[in-house]
Symmetry: C2
Subunit: 340 residues, 2 copies
Amino acid sequence: MNIGEIARRSGVSRSTVSYALSGKRPVSEGTRRRIQAVIDELGYQPNAAARALKEGRTRTIALVIPPASQRLTDVQLGFVASIVDAAARADLDVLLSPSGGEHDRSFERVVSGRRVDGVILMEIRLDDDRVARLGQIGLPFVGIGRTARPESMSWVDIDYETLIARCVHHLADLGHRQVALVDRSAELAAAGYGPSHRAQAGFTRAAAERGLTGVRACCADDAAAGLTCVERLLAAHPGLTAIATINEAAIPGMYRALAEAGRKVPADFSIAGVSARHWAENLHPPLTAADVPADELGARAMELLLQRIADPGIPHRHLLVAPPISLRGTTGPARVRESS
Amino acid sequence: MNIGEIARRSGVSRSTVSYALSGKRPVSEGTRRRIQAVIDELGYQPNAAARALKEGRTRTIALVIPPASQRLTDVQLGFVASIVDAAARADLDVLLSPSGGEHDRSFERVVSGRRVDGVILMEIRLDDDRVARLGQIGLPFVGIGRTARPESMSWVDIDYETLIARCVHHLADLGHRQVALVDRSAELAAAGYGPSHRAQAGFTRAAAERGLTGVRACCADDAAAGLTCVERLLAAHPGLTAIATINEAAIPGMYRALAEAGRKVPADFSIAGVSARHWAENLHPPLTAADVPADELGARAMELLLQRIADPGIPHRHLLVAPPISLRGTTGPARVRESS
DNA sequence: TTGTACGCGTTATCAT
DNA sequence: ATGATAACGCGTACAA
């Protein structure tokens, strides 16, 4: 059923039905009620395609996530959940587009086909094709993450550099002298993934400030990778007593590697990281970590996007958060070691 | 840029551009190449709304998930990932609709506004309003899960009844005499959530067949709930030595409750369940469980949906899977107890 | 209140 | 065989 059908059954014209619904022109109370009765009876909803064609907007946003084949981390899932939630509250639908950094069918279809009014981009790289493409097309977008030229776009982001530096200082305060940074995957870092680079910068800086020995290791986003990564670290650096990490998905594997190496956490070995709160709390021992406020960041990203959709000309806005480290069960004083 | 712009820049008419793209009429090689060059240069994609309006299909499907506020379980995430993946392979976009069983804005907007060609429905209840509504509208859909009248719709599902019965038999074989079923939340069960009811049926039947004492407990989908649930179970039934469960999200909490009660798994206490493989493997000890093949089920659900979209008249098809139990680290012989 | 042009891609029909 | 023209789908909003 379409608006013409409603009009005929109500004995009025199509435009009257449209005005009765939108209220953009006064419609007499009697006809308005008659029209509403017919609409309720038939369960009429305007055809989204026709409306989008005429209005030039789709009431839909795209959420660009990492390719679905690779499991999303808890932090990423937190972002998806909060975006979906915020969109529902704004009566917007969400189109999921699983796209990597390369040219991607889904991404092109969505942005070039004008299927959406705006885009939220996750897992942004320092130099990101998608950001360039969206700018070229002129489609409003907001990044969860930022490129190397952050002034030229709107974004919300986690301050990994500060957070990892804080982790290192916390570990140094506890007396640890040899600390490792467990990063995310080498591919991601090589592709210019911002958090990898920024975490490394914070790690190197803080380690230098405190005169620590720091090593960095890349690690894929899963427990198995965490296990082998820590096995190798311990083999290559027997004096290592602490890890700082942004790779939450690898942590269960790290725990296992440490347990198998006979290093108790936190008595013999400390770990501090950046993670989703739920994830950190449900590990055991629960992880000492800066808890990413995904709910808030997602909601703020949506706010920024709605503003840009309403007025694409407004200046870009940014939000960089560095939540405090929640002390839980994985950091403790460095055990005094016999000198060797 | 629209098709008219492409036509003008190529020096041909709009229909020629359309035919060159669709191949539904022959177009001379020369003009075809000239048109393609212009399209590539400008990055033209047909306007999705205009195309949808004309063709009567949107090349989009809806994936109805539980309200995003509540965290999805690993099994649910597996379904989402495989659906998104399968849709991308079929060049379909995915609209996420977070809707509970009740009337939901997002759900109504998506299905009544003809925004999608088909729907995949998760977390179906035995008596589900959304199934009724989709049937009434005549929109093709496939359930991941099924109602109490499963012949009248297409679905894929996990045979929780058989799987929980198998878990009970496995535990009985190991000598356990008092076994608990840890279900999902009481609200879900009260709302007529199929897996709850079917798991309970399988549990009751198998316990009776083996002459076991069986108790059932509901538990929300998180670790904290799992902890208190098992605490209560142990307090009320000190002789309990095993749990069968479909509540994977609660398992970390169950582990903690057992550890705090001094019951070692699997030496003193056994657990068997239904879970995502990754989840079961990453717990420690790794969970003995029937591994839900979410990838396969998601892919098959998409196949069924594509068939129904292509021909809504075909008979309904169903797929009920009962994957084998993978023996891991959480089930062992019941410890012989001194009689009390 | 109503008639109607518009947005844009598709395709049947007419022309070459 | 190929290109051009126009109608169509449907909701919106201006002109009448």
